[in-house]
Symmetry: C2
Subunit: 237 residues, 2 copies
DNA sequence: TGCCTGCATATTGAATGCAATATGCAAATC
DNA sequence: GATTTGCATATTGCATTCAATATGCAGGCA
């Protein structure tokens, strides 16, 4: 490792990575995802292409391409010759999604015990502690944010990209729904207890336990959600 | 239930349901899916928009919209300003997909035991018998076709649309890959034995057993596939 | 001879325009 | 007065056009 050739010095300068060019429709997809997640585009609202075009400052072509992507992700529904509406989540769909989510995350927990580095587990513990702090302060919103990022992180360290992308899609659809956050206050303590157990399971790399805790945790979240909607949780099984 | 008012008679005529209008881009999506599944558009092949437009007889707009959908399904990859290529499946991705598929179908088997009607179970048995006939005759292709439809049918009768759509997507991506059928001849007998056990599990509505058999069956299919590629199956776990 | 630069061509990305379809309202009919 | 029919408007679906970017090759320079 002698001094580098002067001609190669330039390569050593940190340029902050290659500047990435995002095509317009890609940007529009991202923006619409956010708008839907934040509820700016409420469920069931019909979208008139031209209006959105004016508001976003793009022409109809990239917007329409973006709609196709969002439709394939299940965030909007395209009615032939009648435009797009933001999909409305029925309790049935919410139940089905949570049922699948429970199995996927349970699997992720199992894999995380196999593949996560010690550093990553420490990072999860760290997130957990911060979440607990918000819990003690009853800061629902911040708690919710960290809670979500814990679940996302577990799936990430499971080292299965297919699993991650499927989970991400489901997660996105749940996140933006009108049910958002509805499953928290009821039995908040129980949810937190699940997380305590989960972190320990991960730290001891007890895959079986992590699997079972996550599955129970998410299935319970359906119960909490159903209760908050005055629905019999069992009526959808 | 007296004779209906003559004015209402028309509603009683069977019109074969509403005629459905498929937009062009939708048709293109379906066609491209087939072309990719059949290998007409081989993996890794770059697609020049204009060429395909001429061949399909459509303009670039619906084709591009179709690409966005297929990209979001993972069948093609869009390189900014450089066009689309049919995605190539690496052994890593094949492994990851099968791992997820195993869990999803296992869950589906469990649900099928709860929700399938007796008629549907008889239908599955019927498919199974036909598949066995092809097995005895060593008709690989027909065996393969029925085999696939059995798996699809199990997911259908599980009565969870979210599960079904996710499974369908994974299934489509596996189907078209160069690995197609590669996992059959090795240990064909073992695969068939799994199916025998599976059908019995379903008929006795033994959810736990159906779950475990399906999971094992698909995980074993990774082993078969890895062997046929001269890969150590364990090296990807 | 090997590499770099600059231009010509090919191809994609986005905007616009036109045709087809749906929607809403008013007039006509029973 | 209620229902239906026909027309005007609004909106989407698709084709075409224009602009931006990438690709390949020829010529210049060390």
């Amino acid at each position: 490792m002698a001094n580098p050739d002067p001609a190669e010095v330039t390569t050593a300068i940190d340029l902050g990575g290659p500047i990435e060019w995002r095509s317009l429709h890609e940007t529009v997809v991202a923006r619409l995802r956010d708008l839907i997640a934040e509820g700016q585009l409420p469920e069931g609202s019909r979208i008139i292409e031209r209006e959105l075009c004016d508001q976003l400052g793009v022409s109809r072509t990239p917007l329409r391409e973006a709609f196709k992507v969002l439709a394939s992700e299940g965030l909007v529904e395209i009615l032939p010759n009648r435009g797009a509406v933001v999909t409305r989540l029925s309790p049935r769909e919410a139940h089905d999604m949570l049922a699948v989510l429970a199995r996927l995350e349970a699997f992720a927990g199992e894999l995380a015990c196999l593949h996560a580095t010690d550093d990553e587990l420490r990072g999860l513990r760290d997130l957990h502690e911060r979440m607990m702090e918000y819990y003690r302060q009853r800061e629902k919103l911040e708690y919710f944010r960290i809670n979500q990022s814990i679940h996302v992180e577990i799936v990430r360290v499971a080292r299965n990209e297919v699993l991650r992308s499927m989970h991400g899609r489901l997660h996105a659809r749940m996140k933006r729904s009108r049910f958002r956050g509805n499953d928290i206050p009821d039995n908040w303590a129980a949810a937190v207890a699940d997380h305590e157990e989960l972190i320990v399971a991960l730290e001891t790399r007890n895959g079986r336990l992590a699997h079972d805790v996550l599955r129970r945790h998410i299935e319970a979240s359906w119960t909490r959600l159903a209760n908050s909607l005055a629905i019999d949780p069992a009526s959808y099984d």
